[in-house]
């Protein structure tokens, strides 16, 4: 009896979710293949560890940026395609200030402000790092957060507020317009080339046992991202604002009837989401050492992947989704050439969307 029941259930799963079964089989095969590769030595533990490390770091920033996207998605009810460009804008503002402080006196301020994308400054002449110019980095980080928060507030006031009662799709299209305008304003001010920013001379520590090394910028990013995520968690869980946000994400009309000042909550959401986007942008540039006007836009789809994987509206889901997508895009390098790592992450996202559109943490909204 037990056997026939199990068989029936199994058959139902195969019939209802053919794609899910395929995804599961592929997943198992990949794990088996990974194990054999490790056993027969064609893949060393060290290189797997490096893939994992890169993936986790990418995942942390994706999660950090994703928290903001997830919050605005659930509270305002639309997919904000301009979020990637909030990331770029925050990063540019922060790094411009970092360069002006870090390179003060060496070059005209105008050149420093353009962070080497155009103008005379470059990584060789200014080249800051956490160790050589900690104050400049810290001030730049704060500016990145503040600027991105103010920018999102301003854009909300100009663009989204007059459209508050329109459908999600109209807002989505408007956000594509915001993304275009913002991205090319950055290109107008800073130029369209990509440039190196940080000095290559940074200390690193080696983790004993595996032999993997972590440099100061990777550590800064990891600590900063984790600290910010814990902060968001505390904010949502233990403050009145957090409760109000969760209530709004749940049911906006009910929240308003209960006396929650919805407009103020929306503004707070933008400030937090924009600030986190700016922080993520600044940290990504610190980690990668390069900046370009469209780097946020390029990351946007990965961030969407993270948010959807975790379940829209769930902050922990966004963090978890970020880590998964980050690891998936680097570990996929074991099987596919590096030019497909982004494509692999997108494929993971499409599978998640199709199999479990509500995400892995569905039902848990903004908590």
């Amino acid at each position: 009896m037990g056997i026939s029941e199990t068989y029936d259930r199994g058959r139902n799963v195969v019939v209802d979710q053919p794609l899910g079964v395929i995804a599961g089989v592929v997943g198992v095969l990949l794990i088996v293949d990974l194990a054999t590769k490790l056993m027969d030595g064609s893949l060393s533990v060290l290189s797997l560890a490096i893939f994992l490390k890169q993936g986790l770091i990418l995942g942390l920033v994706l999660g950090l940026a994703g928290v903001g996207l997830s919050m605005t998605y659930s509270i305002l009810g639309f997919a904000n395609f301009a979020h990637g460009d909030y990331i770029s804008a925050g990063a540019f503002a922060g790094w411009a200030i970092t360069y002006v402080i870090g390179g003060f006196g060496t070059l005209p301020i105008g050149d420093l402000f353009l962070v080497g994308v155009s103008g005379e400054a470059d990584a060789g002449s200014v080249g800051v790092s956490v160790v050589s110019a900690p104050v400049a980095i810290l001030v730049g980080f704060v500016v990145a957060v503040g600027f991105a928060a103010l920018l999102t507030l301003g854009i909300d006031r100009l663009v989204y507020k007059p459209m508050r009662d329109q459908e999600g799709i109209s807002l989505l299209i408007a956000s594509i317009g915001v993304a275009l305008a913002l991205r090319y304003l950055l290109a107008f001010v800073f130029g369209t080339s990509s440039s190196g920013l940080t000095s290559g001379n940074i200390p690193s520590v080696t983790v004993p046992g595996i032999g993997i090394s972590l440099n100061a910028h990777e550590l800064t990013l990891a600590i900063g991202a984790v600290a910010l995520m814990v902060g968001v968690h505390l904010l949502l869980q233990y403050t009145k604002l957090g409760t109000a946000m969760r209530a709004m994400a749940d049911n906006r009309d009910l929240a308003r009837v209960t006396g929650i000042p919805t407009e103020r909550v929306v503004r707070a959401t933008w400030v937090i989401g924009g600030g986190l986007a700016g922080a993520a942008g600044y940290l990504i540039v610190l980690w990668r050492g390069t900046i370009a006007f469209d780097f946020g836009w390029v990351l946007l789809l990965l961030i969407f992947a993270a948010v959807i994987l975790g379940g829209i509206g769930s902050v922990y889901g966004a963090m978890f989704g970020g880590l998964t997508i980050g690891v998936a895009s680097t570990v996929s390098l074991i099987w596919v050439p590096s030019e497909f790592s982004t494509a692999a992450a997108f494929v993971v996202m499409i599978f998640v969307l199709v199999l479990k559109p509500s995400g892995l943490f569905s039902g848990v909204t903004t908590a």
């Binding site: 105008g110 663009v159 408007a174 594509i176 317009g177 915001v178 789809l301 497909f340 997108f346």
Partner: protein
């Protein structure tokens, strides 16, 4: 009956009139631009050719997207990906089997087979996407299609598929450096040996070049114009096809799905199957548009299919108004003229009519001059980067459209889902209306006026 027929005919004519009016207005504008810039006849002819070409391709794409979004409410922002599938499949099917040194081998099929193959491939990719993805919410579908178009572009961009072999046949995408498109059949009309760099003209080509040469229009412009006119014919075919689809029983189901999917499915329509079919048809048309546009270039590269192309098409559709075929064509023309080409021409005119001096190389240099109340460096810098500012303009236009006029210029004429206009019933019942139409002239024209008022 006959009055209704003549009415619909007049309405049809007024739509064509509207499109011709818009295009005529744009032509006039660009002729004025050309005269101000001091272009000769050949230069103006070439400008108008470029305008018509862009207007036609954006109209084609907007029409195809309108089928998916305006009729069925499917939010596809992967247009560029489906165009890429169409153009690349066509190029790979028609590339010579033995291309010589450094060339990219293909299957060597004739062009018509390549075009059909490209459309079928685009439709199949669309179908594979649609099968699972159409169950999703509109915003998820948007993200999936955008991701899909990027996956497609990355695949064509990769070195892995630069050249590969299937079943002993050598094939290739050319990677990031692209694959050469087939020789445009229009060139066969004009040149005896279209492949050579300095081809001798055919008798027809000789006559045409001689005739237009008398006006100062060079041979290449004549050839480009001919191909552009072929595109215009295709716009007409797309328009005709989509209008027929829209008015067929199939189209009525689509509109019903757009209005309320649950109602449509509770009336016994398999809405999922309808959505898949319309998605595939739209993708096939996008593939064809990709073939006609990028496929006609000398080199088809992955960089031609960036997501921005999709957003261009969207803006064109939004300007015209989704749900209206005429709006799609008008939107394509207005987008190409006013938003795409217009800013560069205005920039060139300002540049040539004022002496602004050398533009500063960086933004901060331009701003620094503001300290001494000198605006010219900033203006010169802005003109220098007018192609960047054009994107800002596009973004702002999109925002304003969504805020002020989300239905677009002609979107208020959205065709109703019902075959007959249900709102008209309340005015009078059918028998008296017919009687009135047969009766006095003033009444008939009133009724016609009412109907036109509602339809337009």
């Amino acid at each position: 009956m006959s009055t209704a027929d003549s009415l619909s005919e007049r309405l049809g004519n007024s739509d064509v009139g509207l499109i011709l009016g818009v295009v005529g207005g744009l032509y006039l504008l660009f002729i004025i631009f050309g005269v101000i810039l001091g272009l000769d006849i050949g230069g103006i002819a070439s400008t108008l050719q470029r305008l018509t070409f862009l207007a036609a391709v954006y109209a084609l794409l907007a029409l195809a997207l309108n089928l998916q979004w305006g009729y069925a409410g499917l939010f596809n922002i992967g247009v560029a990906g489906f165009m890429a599938v169409g153009a690349y499949t066509m190029a790979m099917l028609t590339a010579p089997v033995d291309p010589g040194v450094g060339g990219i081998p293909g299957l060597g099929l004739p062009l018509w087979a390549g075009v059909i193959g490209g459309m079928v491939a685009a439709a199949l990719v669309g179908g594979i996407t649609a099968l699972p993805a159409l169950r999703l919410r509109a915003d998820y579908l948007a993200i999936v299609t955008l991701a899909l178009s990027e996956i497609i572009r990355l695949l064509y961009n990769s070195t892995t598929f630069q050249s590969f072999s299937i079943g002993g046949r050598e094939l290739g995408t050319g990677g990031a450096s692209g694959i050469p498109g087939p020789i445009n059949p229009v060139r066969d009309l004009y040149y005896t040996d279209p492949a050579s760099p300095q081809p001798p003209p055919t008798a027809f080509g000789e006559a045409m070049f001689g005739f237009f040469g008398g006006f100062g229009i060079d041979g290449p412009i004549v050839v480009d114009w001919t191909y552009t006119l072929v595109l215009v014919v295709f716009v007409g075919l797309f328009y005709f096809l989509l209008t027929r689809v829209g008015n067929s029983p199939f189209g009525r189901v689509l509109k019903a799905i757009r209005e309320d999917e649950i109602v449509a499915s509770s009336l016994g329509k398999n809405t999922r199957w309808f959505k898949i079919k319309v998605f595939m048809l739209g993708c096939a048309l996008m593939g064809l548009a990709g073939i006609l546009w990028q496929g006609s270039q000398a080199l088809i590269t992955p960089a031609l299919f960036l997501p921005i192309v999709t957003f261009y098409v969207f803006i064109a559709l939004m300007v015209g108004g989704s749900g209206s075929n005429t709006g799609s064509v008008v939107g394509g023309a207005l987008f190409a003229g006013l938003l795409f080409l217009g800013p560069t021409f205005v920039g060139r005119i300002v540049d040539s009519s004022f002496t602004l001096g050398n533009a500063p190389s960086t933004f901060t240099d331009a701003i620094a001059a503001l300290g001494s109340l000198d605006v010219t460096p900033l203006i010169a810098y802005a003109l220098d980067s007018i192609s960047t500012l054009r994107f800002v303009l596009l973004g702002v236009v999109l925002i304003i459209l969504m805020q002020r006029r989300p239905e677009g210029l002609l979107g208020h004429r959205k065709e109703p889902a019902a075959a007959v206009d249900l709102s008209r019933r309340s005015v009078s019942d059918d028998s008296t209306e017919a009687a009135r139409a047969d009766g006095g002239v003033s009444d008939a024209s009133d009724a016609a006026g009412d109907e036109r008022g509602e339809d337009e």
